[in-house]
Amino acid sequence: MQTCHSPLTIVTGNARKRIALIGQPNTGKSTFFNRLTGINAHVGNWPGITVDLLQAEIVFNGETVEIVDLPGIYDLKGFSEDESVVKDFLSNFAIDLVLVVINASQVDRQLNLVLELKALGLPSMVILNMADEAKRYGVEINKQKLEQELGIPVFLISAKYGKGWEGVLTAMGKAIKEQENSFTVNNLNDYFVNNPITDSQRQQILTDTVIMPSEDVKTFTDSLDNVLLHPWLGIPIFFASMLGIFFLIWYLGLPSQDVMDIVTTWVGEQIIEPVIYPLPEMVQSFVLNGLWLGVATVASFVPLIVIFFFVMAAVEDSGYLSRSAYLMDAFMAKMGLDGRAFVMQMMGFGCNVPALMGTRIIRSRPMRLLSMLIIPFALCSARLAVFVFIIGAIFPANLGPIVLFSLYILSFVASFAVAFVFSKTQQFQSTEPFVIELPPYRLPTFKQVLLRGWGEVKEFLRRATNFIIVGCVAVWFLTYFPENATGLDTWGGQIGVFLSPIMQPIGINPYLTLSLIFGFIAKEIVVGSFATIYGMGASALSAQFALTINPSSAIAFCVFCLLYTPCLTTVATVKAESKSWGFTLLSLIFSLVYAWIVTYIFYHGALLLGFQ
């Protein structure tokens, strides 16, 4: 039956009243949400919803209210993934109040969303955000008139700088208090088919209440774009800034990992060891080399993630990140990706983990998964440590840098080759058109950047900790038992021997295979594990390597180490970010097979070239 009935269903008994934030992408919803909730935000659990939604509990006049930040959408009846999420949310979870966040300087094109919500009859408030920018553009809005015509309260504010904030808070408190019913929305699309919002309706309201600037406004953004998006200057500047960011992470982020390692090692040796001393040897080893190693691994990523997201938040807020999509598009489009994936790939050269988390800026799921599939092939700093050791031990000093540089090139080529091939498959083919907004350049505020870093770390800890600790314990089992066994006699070593029919053809002996099993926890451990496996110190080890491993095997080992299963933390992050075991397994198995094939080619190529 097709009627004009509102698709709203009244639901009584929302135990805790719920406010939802809705708005187009980039209108400042997150900024608004952060100002409202501070550091209390957390990812909520919404059965059936496939993306992470931030939520927080806040108290209005003694009443605890739940507030949820929904993904940015262009249109309520839209068909993109984010729009489906919002629709699912509205139909499954009752809402007491909707805040529609609008970029005031673009009210002409964002009003549609308000009209849609008004048509549905959901209790709403309109937040005209970015009042500061609207003023700069010369956009004038008659707030009273707009309120009148919409029949919805309207607030002109700046979420970033806090202007008009008190007014919104008071009104929210009042509105939520007076609101007795909760609503769900079903069959929203059917409703709009029968009751479309007409252009004339929108136009009428705009004519009555908004004066857009009549002349083009020459802004700072235009002048900056003339340089940063210049056909010839744009790319060099982009690469220079990428390099700058990369070095920042390199010189600030990676040493922070070492500092954390010193702390966890100290705690392990000075506190845990004495405490567990009376226990049997096996339990001691389990606690220290299994459990504690897991905790230490997690901890070592914390400062790195904070620093990475400080930098990313700053780049994102500045508006340069979407420019990078424009700059790199011609190149990335061929691989089914866009410039944002390029930025994350570059960041992956520092550390894969935050780069994987950063892919959240890619809104299309197939494209995001594709980006997540190739990031683990980026030569991260931990692998670099392995390569430097092996290359130093085996190749003459003058050849070393060339070998290392070739590995960087290989990493780059290997990643994009995978993207190129996979982007042709259905699963990874992006269905979203390439139309993105280029917001004006903005100065990030310290508070924004800080909150972002904090939020990301909390997320990382919540999602990856268990996985990493379990993984460390599993590897401990493989390398501890049978008791008193060492090297190839352990279960892990036996696996290395067992795998030799597969690994010998690519020039990797069982000792090295065993070290790769250790490397599953973290690539940093590989070098350390040589000492355990061979039972000798670092300098003796170098000599031993030079004697027993020929250059082709060394190359094979490096190539395999570059492409095979990334570290446990990376895998945990892939799982957490993709929310799919299927994809995580695909990523794992594919990287093993890919590593083997590429290594085979390199090993035999090197043999043919005479690197005996």
């Binding site: 969303l113 999509a325 598009d329 979203e432 390439f434």
Partner: protein, 89 residues
């Protein structure tokens, strides 16, 4: 407006740098309604003005100003779906 709109429909993708035009309609391409909706929400509605700010290497993507306060990046293929009338000054 004192400016004249040309009678012939051309695509946004065929505009040169700094040319201004008035939007007429958006064709449904391979992306169907998704793109149409998206473009509409970005300000591609009949009567609004667009201006090509610059094109990148080999012409794509385009940087386009829609209305007075929105700037977007769009690929050539998608820009070809947007039909406009050139503003003759």
């Amino acid at each position: 407006m004192s400016l004249n709109e040309s009678d012939t429909l051309i695509s946004l993708g065929s505009l040169n740098k700094n040319q201004t035009a008035v939007i007429d309609c958006v064709d449904t391409g391979i992306y169907g309604e998704v793109l149409k909706n998206r473009l509409k929400a970005m300000g591609f509605v009949k009567g609004n003005t667009v201006r090509v700010l610059r094109r990148f290497w080999w012409g794509s993507p385009l940087q386009v100003q829609v209305g007075k306060t929105t700037v977007i990046a769009i690929r050539q293929a998608e820009a070809n779906l947007i039909m406009v009338r050139l503003l003759c000054i």
